[in-house]
């Protein structure tokens, strides 16, 4: 009921957009370079020969690009509705929507199993090469299975605990991975150039003919899954209509070039092994790639193992996360029993969905042979991509006029139709590689159909997503000085609004009130409406003061981290001033708390932090003064809040010994005319004391309000001056405003970095 009430309110509900093009491109690349390529190269050389492996990745790259175009078009038109499950629900209704979600759950889980197996195979191989473990050939599969189950269990537990990497960390890890792999590929090209005899390894180019390419393309197709996760980040991406399609296409291009380079290098890496290189590599099957690279580079085996450990673990983590999220979403939409949407109170993770995903991942790792796992994952992704291509065609035909596309694929519908035909053919051809895959995958799909007709069909319900999917308002244009007021709760919202009123009046400003709703990483951002009631109350309180007098807007934003959300909102809204409150609590290791510290450091506009500001009138205002970059803004703020009749601002400088470090009168003479404030309000005062903080606290006791500038940021300056303002702010119990002025050059650098 409360949900319905809140929906009717006029407060806009939005999202904090924090991910840039680089972040989401790396997200896609990181997911794609998982394991398929490392396991696939050796097996593809065995089946299709040395030329066949390069052709396999080139041709698969084209099909992946065609499918990528469909994803790009759909996610650019509906950035809020990212994900295959949502696209098929919109295009074909609940039945195919359910089936797609059901297949996606299995596909991601099986892909996770493949990454765990790859990790196990290469780690065991490397450790036995080093002589750290001695495993007999007959025991090897068992050891690999145990290690695979172990690593899968570890990452399932990590997902249960709810830890996650930030966008930047993940981007850096992926970047490191690409650098290692590009280095390996580059070495291969250089070696082939310096020693052209190695090109003879490509003879015979296709020993078993062109037909075998259909098999290798089929089971290595899993190496191209992953870019679709970019579609799920639509809610969190800056300019999603522009950046989502670009990121998808760029990530596919990067990955194709990397795969082609790696497969070429793998073939030319081998020399003088007493038999044709492709037969030698093929003998090692899944380990063929690592074995070949160890022939080429002195630390080849080490480099390959490191790259594979990075790639497989990060992809394993992401696929478990993705599989859990899909099954949780099916439970949330009542297509699967409600228990699937149960959230652990302790860790805020969907524990039941995770436990069931764990069941699939561990069973597949433990009981299926590697080639069958790869084939099953490939086949499921082929079916999923097949559906997405159908969705792109249907949605453009049926809803194209209503949507605003950020990308429209050229020569429509040629590319999706070619992709549909080839994907169907590849899936069918996989029967030649794995009969088990052809039993497991259809069995899972049939089970899904039965569940839909016996259970899900009668329980499906319209979700909030479906209503909001097609709506997206452009950001309003800035017309005058813009103040962003961040409110946290209804209790302090009124005081903040009143103080903001004074700023608005002085600056003739427009004001945007924002409330941040932090959503734990393991929950979908679309679940955030459950938590927005407090924010609505706080905004309504603020509205009473501000909306009738100034141009006014209000938004509730979902975010992963409150400081990041506030900073990105200020930047996106092009705010000139951010006003927010501080209750005075802080965590150990932070000057003023994790939120305030980050906001003061990284916000690219002026900032005013209010503490204990419960009064409406201030007659005696103190401005501690050291001549720093925030002094002018502190003086201006003081002049805004002091009572113009009978009020007084004391500009206070405390120095340890000798002469004062600054000349207040001179500073006021130079700056007050620029601020256009009455100079008779200001009174300078100097005090000499070796205990700066105590002197300041002693002086401040008699004032109604203290306005103080935040510390300078440089490490050297802080080492010399200490964090006096922050220490003062913590200890002072009366009304206080801490300000930080915009530094144009630093803000510019931060904005672009």
């Amino acid at each position: 009921m409360k949900e319905t009430d809140t929906e009717q309110s006029e407060i806009a509900v939005g999202l904090s957009r924090e991910l840039k093009l680089l972040h989401i491109t790396m997200m896609g690349v990181g997911m794609m370079i998982g394991a398929g390529v490392f396991i696939g190269i050796g097996n593809a050389i065995k089946i299709a020969g040395p030329g066949g492996v390069v052709l396999t990745f080139c041709l698969n790259g084209i099909i992946a690009l065609f499918t990528g175009m469909s994803y790009a078009e759909l996610s650019s038109a509906m950035p809020r509705a990212g994900g295959t499950y949502n696209f098929s629900r919109i295009a074909f209704g609940h039945s195919l929507g359910f089936l797609t979600g059901w297949m996606e759950w299995f596909a991601s889980s099986v892909a996770g199993s493949l990454y765990a197996i790859t990790f196990a195979i290469y780690t065991t191989h490397y450790l036995s090469q080093l002589g750290l473990i001695s495993v007999k050939d007959i025991q090897l599969p068992l050891v690999e299975k145990l290690l695979g189950v172990g690593i899968a269990s570890l990452f399932l537990y990590i997902n249960y605990r709810g830890t996650s990497q930030t966008g930047t960390t993940e981007a850096l890890l992926t970047l490191g991975q690409i650098i290692i792999l590009s280095f390996i590929a580059l070495v291969g090209v250089v070696v082939a150039f310096l020693d052209p005899e190695r090109l003879a390894n490509f003879e015979p180019f296709l020993p078993y003919g062109w037909k075998k390419l259909l098999i290798t393309m089929g089971f290595t197709y899993v190496a191209f899954e992953g870019f679709e996760v970019i579609a799920q980040a639509g809610d969190e991406t800056i300019q999603p209509r522009r950046n989502l399609p670009k990121a998808m296409l760029y990530s596919i291009l990067l990955v194709v070039l990397t795969y082609v380079g790696l497969s070429f290098t793998c073939v030319v890496a081998v020399k003088d092994v007493g038999e044709p290189a492709w037969i030698w590599i093929g003998k090692y099957g899944s380990k063929g790639f690592g074995q070949a690279i160890s022939q080429l580079l002195p630390f080849g085996s080490f480099l390959t193992t490191i790259a594979i450990i990075f790639a497989s673990t990060s992809a394993l983590n992401a696929t478990i996360y993705s599989a859990t999220r899909v099954s949780y979403a099916l439970g949330r939409d009542r297509m699967l029993p409600k228990i699937f949407a149960h959230i652990s109170k302790k860790n805020l993770t969907p524990d039941v969905a995770l436990a069931l995903t764990a069941g699939i991942v561990i069973s597949v790792v433990a009981f299926l042979p590697t080639i069958d796992v790869a084939s099953s994952a490939s086949m499921m992704f082929l079916f999923l991509f097949f559906i997405v291509n159908l969705c792109a065609v249907r949605i453009r035909h049926q809803m194209g006029d209503e949507l605003t596309y950020g990308f429209l694929m050229p020569l429509f519908p040629l590319f999706p139709i070619v992709a549909i035909i080839v994907q169907a053919l590849l899936a069918a051809w996989l029967i030649h590689v794995s009969l088990i895959a052809w039993i497991v995958v259809p069995a899972w799909i049939i089970l899904g159909v039965i569940i839909y007709h016996t259970y899900a069909k009668h329980r499906t319900m319209a979700t909030r997503d479906e209503v909001m999917i097609l709506e997206e308002k452009p950001i309003p244009r800035k017309k005058r000085y813009r103040i962003l007021l961040a409110v946290a709760n209804p209790v302090n919202a009124v005081q903040l609004a009143w103080h903001c009123y004074r700023f608005c009046k002085a600056k003739k400003a427009e004001v945007e009130v924002v409330h941040m709703v932090p959503v734990p990483p393991r929950l979908s951002l679309s679940d955030a409406p459950k938590y927005i009631l407090t924010g609505k109350e706080a905004i309504v309180e603020a509205t009473l003061y501000l909306s009738t007098n100034f141009p006014f807007g209000s938004t509730i934003r979902y975010c992963r981290s409150i400081p990041r959300g506030i900073i990105s909102t200020a930047s996106e809204q092009k705010a000139d001033l951010l006003v927010m409150g501080w209750e005075g609590f802080r965590r150990k290791g932070f000057a003023l708390g994790s939120t305030i510290d980050a906001v003061l450091k990284r916000t690219t506009c002026n900032v005013a932090i209010l503490k204990n500001c419960r009064q409406q009138r201030y007659w005696r205002v103190l401005v501690p003064f050291a001549g720093g970059p925030n002094s002018t803004f502190a003086l201006e703020t003081a002049s805004i809040f002091v009572e113009k009749k009978g009020g007084e601002i004391t500009v206070f400088h405390v120095f340890p010994s000798g002469k004062p470090n600054v000349n207040i009168e001179d500073f006021l003479r130079r700056n007050l005319p620029l601020l256009k404030v009455d100079s008779s309000l200001f009174k300078p005062k100097y005090v000499m004391s070796s205990h700066l903080l105590e002197a300041l606290l002693d002086e401040a006791r008699d004032y109604d309000l203290v306005v103080i500038g935040a510390s300078r940021e440089g490490l050297f300056q802080q080492a010399v001056m200490g964090k006096l303002p922050e220490e003062f702010a913590r200890q002072y119990k009366k009304p206080l405003i801490m300000v930080k002025a915009l530094h144009p050059i630093k803000s510019f650098v931060r904005k672009w970095m």
Binding site: G51, C58, L59, G61, E203, L206, R241, R242, F407, M409
Partner: protein, 53 residues
């Protein structure tokens, strides 16, 4: 050089070129649509401003 090697090389080179060409073409489409969309929303803002006056 055998026929399958020649055909194979042609397929490799042309598919890589096609992937690069298509990516650049799509990028161009995205930029064009973006500038069109920006102009449109700017026009809507101007219009609503005039109506307000």
């Amino acid at each position: 050089m055998k026929a399958d090697v020649i055909v194979g090389l042609i397929v490799i080179v042309s598919s890589l070129s096609a992937i690069i060409f298509l990516t650049l073409w799509c990028r161009r489409i995205i930029e064009d649509l973006h500038s069109k969309y920006s102009k449109k929303s700017q026009g809507i803002n101007e219009e609503s401003k005039n109506e307000g006056n």
